[in-house]
Amino acid sequence: MSFLRKVGLIAWKDLRAEFRTKEMISAMLIFALLVIAIFAFAFDPTRDEVRVIFAGLIWVAFFFAGILGLNRSFAGERINDAIHGLMLSPVDRSAIYFGKLLGTWVFMTIVEIVALPIFIVMFNYTPAGSWLLAGTAILLATLGFVAVGTFLAALTANTKASEVLLPVILFPVVIPVVIAAVEATRGVFGGLPPADFVTWFKVLGVYDAVFVAVPFLLFEYLLEV
């Protein structure tokens, strides 16, 4: 079986298991919805203020909901020591990484697809720009976040305080993604000319390329730790 098929198979396994229990995705969705509700009550922004803070608000919800998903991505492999079952199979160790990445990317994207319209309704905000560009920014930012997060989740999964440790070591590394995601989304939703925010798309693209390639090279060593 080809490398990509094995990646798909590992992601299929995660999706199948999750959609049966819905433990992780329901926690991520509930968290995102709670953030929306809290922000909606905490702020009473004017139309102009919403335009400025909206991108930041949605990414706070998405990234912190994503942390919940990342924490669970390798925790499931530790139950029954299933990670050793994977490591013993004739699968390239990087296929395990990409399979886990793909699964978490799908979960986070589902949460974003559900939460974004609710954000828009709750804040009575009408995005001005292209939905295609907005979708691209969200997918690129989510990929960068999940690429680093999956790698670090594997690193912290064996520690006693992994759920605390992961966000502490993840957020300093993903600061470029956080800033670029907010700026790119703000530019697109604000209806600015593409020249004003294209740089942030480039930042996201480069970050994604680097942080998908680095774990690809290092994941085998990480699993041996």
Partner: protein
């Protein structure tokens, strides 16, 4: 058969025992299934294994006994490539495990006291997942076969989390053999099983013995371990303290020699006696 490469004839068993018609398997035709040469493992300040020499041929069943902390699980992890030895090397069918691990791993089946199963998936989904990872041909039929072999054919659609410990262990066996592995590693497979489930497991394991398969089992059950084994190795403090043909041992004698070996004080850096297979 299992032999100790450096064991002298004075331990009562022949130094080299002929294999039981080992079939041509993979690239290393004629080579022993597993060879561990001078394998040592240090974890932190502690030496877990010291200069282990083992050879396991196809068609043989090796039982590894030893007190807790003797290094048994570490040895299995090194033999399966999950851990790298600090010094020494392991070859599988003559090929270095460190150089072609993914290809070599295709031959491995591992049954541990952990099941390696996914609780949220059904028995069939677990077997489908592992079967696809190993590229098992005609997978649906093979899944039916192994489920019947372990007596779980009626529970194929039940999530693993609803299974009893014995059922989980039987499904773990099905998972481990679905790709027809030629090297089977069993790490305390009887842990937590009631007598009936243990009996079922023994019966399944007996059926797995064959000329094409080498089996290495860690257990604390002396009677079951000795009954199935062609050879018995006792690890004490990371060293081979006893390495004997099972036919040359009675259960009482094994118990007596095991106790003597386990109680013998650690002789520090002197590895010569134990590593040569000299028994107390």
């Amino acid at each position: 058969m299992v032999v100790s490469r450096s064991r002298p004839a004075s331990d009562g068993a022949p130094a080299i025992v002929a294999g039981m018609g080992a079939p041509a398997v993979a690239a290393g035709m004629g080579a022993p299934a597993i060879v561990a040469s001078r394998v040592s493992k240090r974890i932190g300040p502690r030496m877990i294994l010291r200069d282990i020499d083992l050879t396991v041929d196809r068609g043989s069943f090796l039982t590894i006994l030893g007190p807790n902390g003797a290094g048994k699980t570490t040895l299995i992890r090194i033999l399966t490539g999950l851990l790298k030895p600090t010094t020494g090397r392991v070859t599988i069918d003559g090929r270095d495990l460190a150089e072609v691990p993914a290809e070599v791993r295709r031959q491995f089946g591992v049954i541990s006291h952990h099941s390696y199963l996914y609780d949220s998936l059904t028995a069939r989904e677990n077997l489908y997942f592992y079967g696809r990872l190993y590229d098992v041909p005609d997978l649906p039929r093979r899944i039916d076969e192994v489920l019947a072999e372990v007596g779980l054919e009626l529970f194929f659609n039940e999530p693993v989390r609803t299974f009893s410990r014995g059922m989980v262990q039987r499904l773990a066996i099905a998972r481990a053999i679905i790709h027809r592995p030629s090297l089977l590693f069993l790490d305390e497979p009887y842990t937590g099983l009631d007598p009936q489930a243990s009996e079922t497991l023994s019966s399944v394991l007996s059926s797995l013995k064959g000329p094409e398969r080498a089996i290495v089992m860690i257990t604390h059950q002396f009677d079951q371990g000795l009954a199935m084994a062609d050879r018995v190795v006792v690890l004490v403090r990371g060293r081979i303290a006893i390495n004997e043909a099972a036919a040359d041992l009675t259960l009482d004698e094994l118990n007596r020699r095991y106790r003597t070996a386990a109680m013998r004080p650690d002789d520090g850096g002197d590895t010569t006696r134990a590593d040569r297979g000299v028994t107390p």
